[in-house]
């Protein structure tokens, strides 16, 4: 008895150094990469390999199957939204559904920010997709589960950027630059 316990403890011994989410990928139906974020250290070469393998695996899955695939001793939780696949890679013993809803949480925030988000929004504003992701995940863990709070932060960031732009274009600045 108590083997469950033991197993959890040993898994924990490994888990302390392992991340919850190893990486996040957005891949289009045409296997184009729309966003990548790596929380575990992968070299450039490894990153390319992961992308190749996973897009081959996930894009070929028929609809209405489960949202988890087992891959190299990890699990990849993915969800398709229209033409885009959102994928997150976790350890085998992590809670899959929790991750699935983190994906949805992210998509909802994107949707709210762009107003009915589509793939093109994420192509032209891919930097925004990064900004938003940075507010939701950190160190491979969920950072903020309140949509309102994320929206507030992103709004504040946008304001800061806008302010800086205005400042830069003001006459005062022009003069300053001219005399430099």
């Amino acid at each position: 008895m108590a083997s469950v316990l033991q197993q959890d403890v040993t898994v924990g011994a490994r888990g302390k150094l392992a991340l919850l989410i190893h990486f996040v990928l957005l891949i289009s139906r045409q296997a184009k990469v729309r966003l990548t974020k790596w929380y575990s250290p992968y070299s450039q070469k490894e990153r390319a390999k992961v992308l190749r393998e996973l897009s081959g695996m996930i894009l070929t899955r028929a609809p209405k199957l489960c949202n988890f695939v087992e891959w190299r001793g990890y699990k990849v939780v993915y969800k398709r939204y229209a033409s885009l696949y959102f994928c997150m890679c976790i350890n085998q013993d992590d809670n899959e559904l929790e991750i699935l809803e983190i994906i949805h949480h992210y998509v909802e925030i994107l949707d709210r920010y762009f107003g009915s988000v589509c793939e093109l929004d994420l192509i032209f504003n891919f930097h925004k997709a990064y900004y938003i992701l940075e507010e939701i995940l950190l160190a491979g863990e969920l950072q903020e589960s309140s949509k309102k709070s994320v929206a507030r932060l992103i709004g504040a960031q946008d304001c800061l950027v806008e302010d800086a732009k205005e400042q830069a274009s003001s006459i005062k600045n022009m003069i300053a630059q001219a005399t430099k």
Partner: protein, 1000 residues
């Protein structure tokens, strides 16, 4: 922002030229984004990293933001460029600007490495517990600290943090609380003892959430109070072995009961997922807490419901958790009631679910249901996808052997297995069946009959040819009276197969012919002639094995009656552990092996060098017992199966290629513009034009899944050899084995030059399955600067990985560096701490000094602290010559002739470190020929610390016995860090009288 009409190559050129000319920060920002975009498209961007990093120090927010985010996307923790940024990042963290703090914390949290951990952890901790910081900074600080803790657990001081952690759990802001809970999970997973005070608080949080008390609207998700925080809290609770306090326990069980009972299936997918995420975590916690039987059976009932639902995710998780539940002994019978449903899942269209079902069936199999389950597996085998067949056949073979109700059934199963999936049946499987048949007389005629039946089939697999030829060779005479079983007929039917088989099978056939010839009584001249003609033909075969057999059999068959004795039946095999089960224990899943080969073909990890070694697997072929009649050695068969696998692998690889984008999708624009269908189920999206490939996905996956651990899995991996002994040997030499166990061998090769050292760790996987989650962490003492290159997470089968380690000696010290090494093999997690032989004497270089140099130096270093003297007692008695050898092997050059007294030794050496530079050290040992257990030692150098450390070091060497140890106490447990060779206390006390004498 970027026109996608530009070809990426054009952008490339554009960017390169732009970077060369000077840029304003604004332009820089623009181009850095473009660079990231190109990078994302899959082009290797190896320029402009510097520009991205330099933007971090821009004064204005927009540029800084871009610098931070692009840097954390492009680089990983191992990039050198990151070091350039440490100071700027630190300034931002300790600065007053909140937005800058956030940016810096995000970068460190995402890609911070060890160096960041050491230099930034205190600042990050300050932010986390500061009351003046806003929640948005503190939640980032919590996760950032988590990252740093993962990189170096020492950054969090356990004593100081247990109270603070408990305080953090009182946090009202749920954002900060979620982050803190993640931090807590990491802390307790490492050391739950220190955080007991957090346990009741976790239960309180869980209660608050489950009752939806005081949870702001924005933190509910589809009406559920922060499901993520609930999951995290329950995860943290699973790291505490028990909940002792009865009140806490009661309220925890109330909450769990509420979750178990109160979760209903609802229409909304997201609400359903979120509530089930909580439910499954609760199930895991209940299993962990080993609750009352009633609650357990409640759990199994729930899981039984789940594996039958339509929603595939829930079905998958139901199967997965049921496999975990198997560990709880009481409920196995209840699980068995769901057998039919589980078998149905074996035919699920989804390979992920099929895998789970297979694992579960394998785990739940016992004597009572083995027949049903194995027959189901066999039936499924013919339709199973290639990715699963090897695993499936191995599992079926193991179950058949373990739980066979009778042996003839076992023979049936294995023969069917070979018939249906010959390609995936490893040699071990057929060797095993041959062993069984040989050892059980009542089985022999049955097996021979069965083998004979299979030979009638028009096309049979080569493995089947091998098995049936072997069995018929041994036992066909038992069938002689049956129709179609005369020696002649048996010979003909076997000989028909000869043109179709490979060279590895021919030797077996030759042995069979020899045996048939022996049983050919009364002699049938025609048969004899035919067989001899065959031997004759193969006598000139190019294959040595075949040739030898042909020659020997031919010569033997000329001997007539003597043949009977030589070719008698094989004796019984000694009982031994099934090689299959051994194999399964070694490599939890055999598909893992297969996919590992595939992995190896595709992946060459990072900057570490991967050398593969194709030695044949475990040496002795089980059947080659007596010299004469033997099965071909495994080397041959192994190679041939490897060859067979290759084309198959290549075939599978082509499938991996993503759908070529060349086929223009008619609704490309629809894809780009269509909303991401948040509300509707994902399946309603436009019909996939990739759907055709559904049959192919199986070939692609081959994920390295582990079979659910059914046996008790304790960390019982025993090291081979004495770790301490190996360490001491390595202190004296520069290459050798540091550690070895059944799975891995860690070798070391070192080069030392002045105060620099380059040590290469050779991590060799000894198995045919990959090692996962490999982690090597160096815990350097304060006087050494050590830098380990990236260690790949996976070591492919039979591969060796080299990991260079750079060492710089900063100052003299006897502290020892420790390598914290961890890997996972199957379900074994092995964690060892090994002392690294980067010891003091490695930084010594022997030097000869002439009397003219020695004496002035010796006199000028007149007394403490530069010159120390001590009488050492309890010295291991050794002749002077041996001591001189010992000194020389420690890089202390013995200079004969300097001391007129023949019982004394004088040695000199140069010590190198960054603080002392090259420093001459002089040693004098005065021994007493009457009592070899004591001596007087004087050490002198220009640096007081060095003198002291060197004196203690030499003393340790003289008192402690380096090689070979007198009592080799095997140390299976990890060597504790800093476990220095023990100096026996009495000798450590220096003799005051002697000291005085020295001073005078």
């Amino acid at each position: 922002m970027i026109s996608i009409c530009y070809s990426p190559l054009y952008l490339f050129e554009l960017l390169l030229s732009e970077f060369v000319s000077g840029l304003t920060p604004y332009e820089k920002k623009k181009y850095v984004w473009k660079m990231l975009y190109i990078y994302m498209l899959g082009y290797d961007v190896d320029f402009g990293h510097m520009e991205a990093v330099s933007l971090i120090s821009a004064p204005k927010y927009p540029e800084k933001q871009v610098g931070y985010i692009v840097t954390s996307c492009l680089l990983n923790e191992n990039h050198d460029f990151l070091r350039l940024a440490i100071n700027t990042v630190r300034n931002d963290i300790i600065g007053r600007n909140e937005t800058f703090q956030c940016l810096a914390l995000t970068l460190v949290g995402n890609i911070g490495g060890r160096e960041f951990a050491e230099s930034l952890a205190p600042d990050v901790q300050k932010l986390l517990i500061s009351s003046s910081c806003r929640p948005l900074v503190r939640k980032k600080a919590a996760l950032c600290l988590l990252r740093l803790y993962r990189k170096n657990p020492d950054v969090v001081n356990v004593d100081g943090w247990s109270d603070r952690m408990a305080q953090l759990l009182d946090e009202r802001d749920l954002g900060v609380l979620t982050s803190s809970m993640s931090l807590l999970v990491a802390l307790v997973s490492n050391n739950h003892e220190a955080y007991w005070s957090c346990l009741p608080k976790c239960v309180k949080i869980l209660e608050r959430l489950a009752r939806n008390q005081d949870v702001p609207q924005e933190y509910t998700y589809y009406g559920i109070p922060s499901p993520w925080l609930q999951v995290k809290t329950m995860r943290a609770l699973q790291y505490f072995p028990t909940v002792e306090d009865p009140n806490t326990r009661r309220s925890l069980f109330e909450v769990l009961q509420r979750i178990l009972m109160g979760t209903d299936v609802v229409k909304n997918v997201n609400k359903n997922n979120a509530s089930h995420a909580v439910l499954f975590e609760a199930l895991a916690l209940v299993m962990h807490l080993d609750a009352e039987k009633e609650m357990m059976s409640q759990c199994v009932a729930l899981l039984g419901k789940f594996i039958a639902v339509r929603e595939p995710n829930i079905r998958y998780l139901g199967l997965e958790n049921m496999t975990r539940m198997l560990m709880v002994t009481d409920v196995q019978d209840i699980i068995k009631r769901h057998q039919a449903q589980i078998i149905t899942s074996l035919k699920d269209p989804d390979i992920s679910i099929r895998r789970r079902a297979l694992d579960l069936l394998y785990g739940m199999c016992d004597v009572s249901n083995a027949k049903d389950i194995v027959e189901e597996l066999l039936q499924y085998l013919s339709s199973a996808d290639f990715a699963m067949r090897e695993e499936l056949s191995l599992k079926a073979a193991i179950l058949a052997e373990k739980f066979a109700p009778d042996l003839s059934w076992y023979v049936d199963v294995i023969l069917q297995l070979i018939d249906k999936a010959g390609d995936f049946v490893s040699d071990d499987i057929w060797f095993r069946v041959v062993q069984f048949v040989t050892n059980n007389e009542d089985l022999q005629s049955y097996a021979a009959l069965k083998a004979r039946e299979y030979l009638d089939k028009p096309a049979i697999h080569e493995t089947m040819v091998k098995v049936s030829a072997y069995i018929l060779g041994e036992y066909s005479h038992l069938l002689a009276r049956r129709p179609g079983c005369s020696p002649k007929e048996i010979f003909h039917i076997i000989h028909e197969k000869l043109p179709t088989v490979s060279t590895s099978t021919i030797p077996i056939l030759l042995s069979t012919y020899a045996k048939i010839l022996m049983h050919n009584q009364p002699p049938d001249q025609e048969l004899q002639k035919q067989i001899l003609a065959i031997f004759n033909k193969y006598e000139s075969c190019i294959d040595a094995e075949i040739q030898q057999r042909a020659v020997e059999y031919h010569a033997l068959s000329m001997k007539g009656a003597a043949l009977m004795d030589i070719l008698a039946e094989m004796p019984k095999f000694p009982e031994r552990q099934s090689s299959l089960i051994k194999k399964a224990e070694e490599s939890e899943a055999d598909t893992a092996e297969q996919s590992a080969i595939k992995l190896r073909a595709q992946q060459h990890t990072s900057n570490a060098l991967v050398l593969t070694d194709q030695r044949p697997a475990n040496g002795t072929p089980p059947v080659s017992q007596l010299g004469l009649v033997k099965v071909p050695s495994m080397t041959n068969t192994d190679q041939s199966t490897a060859e067979q696998e290759l084309p198959h692998l290549n075939g599978a690889l082509t499938v991996v290629d993503p759908q070529p984008p060349s086929t223009p999708s008619p609704d490309l624009l629809g894809d780009l513009l269509g909303p991401l269908a948040i509300e509707g189920p994902s399946g309603t999206a436009p019909q996939s034009d990739l759907g055709v490939a559904s049959g192919l996905d199986g070939g692609v996956v081959a994920g390295a899944l582990a079979i659910a651990p059914v046996e008790e899995q304790t960390n019982t991996v025993q090291p081979i050899g004495d770790i301490a002994e190996r360490f001491h040997a390595l202190c004296m030499k520069d290459s050798g084995v540091l550690y070895e166990d059944p799975y891995i061998q860690i070798g070391i090769k070192a080069e030392w030059r002045a105060h620099h050292g380059r040590v290469v760790l050779f991590l060799g996987n000894k198995n045919t399955a990959p090692l996962f989650s490999v982690q090597a962490l160096i815990l350097p003492p304060s006087h050494l600067k050590m830098e380990l290159s990236l260690v790949p997470e996976t070591i492919p089968p039979r591969a060796q990985v080299q990991c260079p380690l750079e060492v710089v000696n900063l100052k003299p010290s006897r502290d020892v560096a420790v390598l914290d090494f961890l890997y996972k093999f199957g379900t074994h997690v092995v964690n060892v701490r090994l002392r690294l032989p980067a010891v003091l004497n490695k930084f010594l270089q022997p030097i000869t000094v002439s009397p003219d140099e020695f004496f002035p130096q010796w006199r000028s270093l007149s007394g403490p602290p530069l010159k120390l003297q001590e009488v050492v007692r309890g010295v291991r008695p050794m002749p002077l010559a041996e001591m001189a050898n010992l000194f020389n092997s420690l890089h202390l050059m013995v200079c004969p002739g300097l001391d007129p007294n023949a019982n004394n030794l004088v040695a000199s050496t140069t010590f190198y470190s960054e603080s002392t530079r090259a420093m001459l050290c002089l040693i004098r040992i005065e021994t007493d020929p009457a009592d070899r257990t004591q001596l007087r030692m004087t050490v002198a150098s220009g640096d007081p610390t060095l003198t002291f450390e060197l004196k203690e070091f030499i003393k340790e060497q003289l008192v402690f016995i380096p090689v070979p140890p007198r009592a080799p106490a095997p140390a299976p447990t990890p060597v504790p860090p800093q476990a220095l060779p023990p100096t026996s206390p009495p000798t450590a006390i220096s003799d005051p009288g002697a000291l005085l004498a020295g001073l005078l």
